[in-house]
Subunit: 251 residues, 8 copies
Amino acid sequence: MKNDIKKILESVKNGEISVEDALLELKSKPFKDIEYAKIDFHRKVRQGVGEVIYGASKTANQMIGIISTMLENGQGSILITRLNEDAAREIKKIHSIEYYEEAKIGIYGPLKKPNGIGKIVVATGGTSDIPVAEEAALTCEFLGNEVVRLYDVGVAGLHRILGHLDEIMSASVVITIAGMEGALASVVGGLTDCPVIAVPTSVGYGAAFNGVAALLSMLNSCASGVSVVNIDNGFGAGYTASMINHMEVKK
Amino acid sequence: MKNDIKKILESVKNGEISVEDALLELKSKPFKDIEYAKIDFHRKVRQGVGEVIYGASKTANQMIGIISTMLENGQGSILITRLNEDAAREIKKIHSIEYYEEAKIGIYGPLKKPNGIGKIVVATGGTSDIPVAEEAALTCEFLGNEVVRLYDVGVAGLHRILGHLDEIMSASVVITIAGMEGALASVVGGLTDCPVIAVPTSVGYGAAFNGVAALLSMLNSCASGVSVVNIDNGFGAGYTASMINHMEVKK
Amino acid sequence: MKNDIKKILESVKNGEISVEDALLELKSKPFKDIEYAKIDFHRKVRQGVGEVIYGASKTANQMIGIISTMLENGQGSILITRLNEDAAREIKKIHSIEYYEEAKIGIYGPLKKPNGIGKIVVATGGTSDIPVAEEAALTCEFLGNEVVRLYDVGVAGLHRILGHLDEIMSASVVITIAGMEGALASVVGGLTDCPVIAVPTSVGYGAAFNGVAALLSMLNSCASGVSVVNIDNGFGAGYTASMINHMEVKK
Amino acid sequence: MKNDIKKILESVKNGEISVEDALLELKSKPFKDIEYAKIDFHRKVRQGVGEVIYGASKTANQMIGIISTMLENGQGSILITRLNEDAAREIKKIHSIEYYEEAKIGIYGPLKKPNGIGKIVVATGGTSDIPVAEEAALTCEFLGNEVVRLYDVGVAGLHRILGHLDEIMSASVVITIAGMEGALASVVGGLTDCPVIAVPTSVGYGAAFNGVAALLSMLNSCASGVSVVNIDNGFGAGYTASMINHMEVKK
Amino acid sequence: MKNDIKKILESVKNGEISVEDALLELKSKPFKDIEYAKIDFHRKVRQGVGEVIYGASKTANQMIGIISTMLENGQGSILITRLNEDAAREIKKIHSIEYYEEAKIGIYGPLKKPNGIGKIVVATGGTSDIPVAEEAALTCEFLGNEVVRLYDVGVAGLHRILGHLDEIMSASVVITIAGMEGALASVVGGLTDCPVIAVPTSVGYGAAFNGVAALLSMLNSCASGVSVVNIDNGFGAGYTASMINHMEVKK
Amino acid sequence: MKNDIKKILESVKNGEISVEDALLELKSKPFKDIEYAKIDFHRKVRQGVGEVIYGASKTANQMIGIISTMLENGQGSILITRLNEDAAREIKKIHSIEYYEEAKIGIYGPLKKPNGIGKIVVATGGTSDIPVAEEAALTCEFLGNEVVRLYDVGVAGLHRILGHLDEIMSASVVITIAGMEGALASVVGGLTDCPVIAVPTSVGYGAAFNGVAALLSMLNSCASGVSVVNIDNGFGAGYTASMINHMEVKK
Amino acid sequence: MKNDIKKILESVKNGEISVEDALLELKSKPFKDIEYAKIDFHRKVRQGVGEVIYGASKTANQMIGIISTMLENGQGSILITRLNEDAAREIKKIHSIEYYEEAKIGIYGPLKKPNGIGKIVVATGGTSDIPVAEEAALTCEFLGNEVVRLYDVGVAGLHRILGHLDEIMSASVVITIAGMEGALASVVGGLTDCPVIAVPTSVGYGAAFNGVAALLSMLNSCASGVSVVNIDNGFGAGYTASMINHMEVKK
Amino acid sequence: MKNDIKKILESVKNGEISVEDALLELKSKPFKDIEYAKIDFHRKVRQGVGEVIYGASKTANQMIGIISTMLENGQGSILITRLNEDAAREIKKIHSIEYYEEAKIGIYGPLKKPNGIGKIVVATGGTSDIPVAEEAALTCEFLGNEVVRLYDVGVAGLHRILGHLDEIMSASVVITIAGMEGALASVVGGLTDCPVIAVPTSVGYGAAFNGVAALLSMLNSCASGVSVVNIDNGFGAGYTASMINHMEVKK
């Protein structure tokens, strides 16, 4: 951004642009396409990996329009999260997206080749957590990461997680996804020395309080290196994990 | 109780007692010493193991009086919970109690010989949980149980708990005591097939909310056979565990 | 489990299996069928009493497959909890299960003969608590316990519970199930000297907060020997009660 | 009040007072001594029984001043609630009040002769609830009611409450005061057919949440005729009970 | 009840009944029809005013059966609360009940003639509170009270409540019903010197939290003589108000 | 109001009206049409700008009646909030209202000409907040304010809000509307020196708790000049903003 | 700000400053004294009325330093909030501030002459709310407003507030401050047509939950024109009220 | 760990160790020093960077002992968190630690040379957040990271954070620390494309609820790449940030 501002100032100095135009640009810079940004991008992905649309509060038509605009702007790959089946069907009539029903994710264009530091492990406590896990896993894959899925490895049957120690200990980042008591994050956090991103899910009943029990459990994890995202926020976990897994590449 | 009522009725029939006296007895039976019960007994122990005084809201003088009355009534052993050091010192001037500072427990008279089905394991997630654990352990010992203490075996270092699999798997009952995320109950519950009593503790800070995080975690345990008592209620856990550990003896 | 590990090690020593194979086995042992465990077992029952499937988050087809696999593995009796009517109908086309509509429970194969220490009393505060009570009662019966049902004995009409003092005082374990103010647990806990497992239910309205009022009430019970499970968790209470009722048998 | 307004209007008509004066009176009527009311009266008692001062947020000097003003206005009896010992000592130097330490109540002047419909029973679950109970009981007595105290009759020992059925069933109003699980209100509500006023107390620990568990329990009471006041609000319960106990007198 | 027990004892003494029969009776007495009571009576009305059925969790058939049994037992009037329209239609085919749609109340038989001390005022903050108010008002009328309805007199337009000062100040009991901020209870409590029963309603949105805001507001009322029932519990308020309004009659 | 009362009193003095009539008027004054007010006006607009109907809990027929009555009373413009589409269609058959679907607002008659101090900016964090924003914006316009809409200017893309600094810094009042973390209020509050009214919305999932996260965030805003209304209360914000924007006009 | 940027750009064009210097300025503009801002200003007052220091988390020495710096920068008046007595005494040794003990406010220099649109009324429900009210009132006075104090006018004694209708109805802004049930905001909001700023206070006990009951009550006010600030935030209310009261002046 | 197990198995095969010894080792491996681990390590740091002691619940003597043991085991650097001043003074008598009062951290031995990918920015919203920030910053520095401190850059004065865009945009990881409304995380998350770790602090009053408002705000951040740790958990944030900043080094 510093360079953007500098360039504008130099153009002013050189008389290439008027003060008024520079003023206008400075107000909208270093971010271009302000009008475009007003189409809700939800969580923008800036480093050349593709764009993301948060589909929850959009009509099929709105999303079709956004995709069209993105494609016109040269975007090759697009990720749509929280996309329901009906909207996906509508979009498919115009744009050839791949729809992943369990994850409620739609993807336009090819996935990026994995180019991260290592593998990202996505582990769940139970089978009911899989939709959130798939949102996380597909987000990681969309952003260029190799993903290892370890589903239904809850701590009440320790053998299930211990049987996959290799994968966990060699992971670059682990995303642990669990509802109910959410203990998976602490156990995994104690078994590995890579960053662990914990996703509480709304799975459970009664005193699970739609994910609050798991959320509190994860925030209080006695294992180091565990950080937490919002309940059911698979995308957020996947996005953060990808950021971490691309640390060395970025520099 | 049925027999008590029957006996009273038969005495009426036989003219051994008047209708008025029977009425009086029926009203107060099958529980005697109503006046005495009005001295707060807190959690009464009825099967010949000794009496319990909940010391939290009593002055040293009140407790001295209660102990005296108990002794006069032939009670041999008395357990005082939530007893602070100052009150303990005062009581000692009159009655020769043993005071356990960490557990805040005072005991008059000899502990009962262990006569339960097996051993009760008392396990904690961290060192800060030990005061609650000692309240549980001493309660168990007072009520005639052999106790195995496994302290600081939190799940963030699984080796600590796995290193004691033998004790856990051969226990009659396991009391798991943990603050913060309270995951110990689930992990232990998955490793053993005996009843597990979970005690959340108020250990932790921030989103631990004085034990609420651990409480919710334990209530949502995905392991079977786990039941929960109030936050920091070591006595309640010990008492229940002792009941279970004396099941075969009772019959 | 200790023996399992020992056997593997001795096989290595004897050259019966290679180091690599032993490594593999150790990783998956002492629990076999890891792949199988990945099919969500929910709350596993290990001591020869039968298997349990948590039906809430599974399709009829998934459950049919799990049952088939269980039967192939020699399992004779299977309990399915939280099974809705539609799924039950589908399963019945393939496997001859008995469906209990009120409890939302399906059972394959014969119930185990009662072989516990004594009887388990299942008591409810009102009629609305009966579905949870039936989940508890049928779980107990499936696991080999004799059950006494005392429904609608809420404390606002003390005569109802006092009229069944005999059953309560002679029980091996009492499961008290109540919504609204959940006072039943304390009253029963004061009337009996066996362990009491309290199940708050989501019955009630307004400040009942879907079971939270009853849950807090039960956690704060002034009666000793009361422990609590999650809101509406009839299965968990039944499972724990059965564990306790089989204490002497187990040894 | 209707008559007050009418009288003013008639005085205007008759020319006895000017329009301006009437306007002034109407604004302050039917309540006189507006300036005086600005001294916080807390909960005003209007029907000739005496005045009440809420002492919690007042200095001894402020209270001395208020009492003096009240006495000058012909008030014969004054009740001061939430009065701490130090302030009581200061007040005593000027005004001869009686101080009740446990209830934290100070009373100036004689108690009113009991003139209610019947007796008010004040019952507590435990001994720790007694301070709140005494606030309620003394308020009742100050307002002219006969009070029967039944302390430490918690439901975990049903015999304690059943042993006093006579008092409870013949009461005009029952005030039930309990912390922890607050079940006393429901049990008493089921035993009597008079109005029951429930007071949750902040007694307890952990999931008692300073009276919230008892409050919710009481609000969800399955017994009819139970209404609830704020946590620890002994005065409010006593005041309401007295109102009810003077129903027939009032007419 | 005392007399019941006494009579049984005397019969034993006189040899009129056997010890066994007396034992049986004592267990079920002083409450008869135990089996009958097991049909959920919800909130029983004992003083000859009629019976109450809580319809929320019952099928039409169950209620038809209960009504039949009641009629056979000589009950002349029956009140059914929380009765939905469909069930009402079914019941009408067998028993001629009057159905009040807004209140969701069904009544069999004639209302009792008003015979209370005075009138009960039922006041609401808004029009949305009327269903709860009608539940309260009809309950009062069923139990023999004259009711004055003051609907939509919320405090944001004080004129509305001040315009009805006469009714409020001459009431025997006032039931104030309000959602949102629930301030009506305090304002009314300050205007009258009769008992005020406050009913928070689930009316409102956002931070009204389904009645919690109003509930807390009412519990903290700075007016004396205000007690509170559960959110939306019109029946409970009406029942309690009727109790109070019949104080003098009862004696 | 003072003048109203004075006028009545003078009429009494002059014998123009009887004491009885004056009494009646005084009770209903300074607010006329008491009966009419009993039709829920929700939030009354008194200064000649038009009337408001809160449509959430009213049938189409009820609203038609209220509008008719208003028109008969000379009201020229009427605002209906929380009006669903079906009811709007019904009302249109009788009264020619304009229906704004997104805002769920219906307006009868012409909007008032903008006559405020300046412009009111309505800013939202995302597109999902727009329905609440439109409720606010249309309310402002109905009440005679010029509105600048800045939608989807959430703080995660600061350029979006910074690109509109001019509008924000020259606004008379800013209404900031946001769900999720609600940070917009603080950022805007720091950028402008006019009053900021913050509206939390129920947009979000998981730990957004239906607007609670945004509500708390806004209440804790570290920017000065920020005040808050209820979750999703666009009308309330618009109404208050209009009040402020007409300050100079009013005097 | 627009002009600031423009001026810098023109200086670049004119060669008056280098591109590098412009870059630097643009980064720190339009806000000067960045280093200075790092001294926590808390809530900055920009329109020439004086500066504010939030004293809660600062040592006397830190505050002395900040005041010195402010004075050196030509600041004439300084407001210090949440200033405890000890720190005030220390500051007074160096700077001659006026200390208001009840409000915990210190003021350096003269108050600004009132120059607002009208008067600001500060009303409290009880005497315990006065410290928060004084924080609000002194803030208003510091910022150039005439303040009318109406203390202890809670709604349980309506005459108290009705007796001051004149002041309330002629106010420019009303700040209502109340703990417990917080009903004052709704009643005042219904009596006036100026903006009402509601401040919940932490006054109360039990279910007042340190101001939460009042906060919820105020957020749900059924009166229009009411907005809310944080619990006990007298300063925030005063600051916002002053903003509103200077609307016409500002233009 | 795989290799550890393999080595043991090969030793068995080679007859180097007995089956019994192997069994013992397997049980305690791959973690040695089980007894030692029972001294609460809190959050263990395994990759050669030094050890950590959680000082909150330990006496000075306990910590002296642990440090001694660590030193004997060859540990060169030790970090003690939550260390109060008194304990620090005691420890200093035996071990030469450096004590950082604001951060409540003690460090034995030299800090590790920074060898991470880049710099870690530690930013706070206000000055009151600095103690938590220092805990984070010193933890980072102890673990071999270069730290840039940006304190008091809260969003209510955007210039403060925008003036440091360079540092933020070039950071490897940003730790944002804020109480009150916690908006800093979202704003920073939108300005940078590196991982952001958010730490809510307990700074604030009223509806800040000791950090809950900031916690919820951060969990709901609309910026991608933001994950959250427990309230006031500066250590956890620093530890996780260091893990991420050493990603490339680790491989």
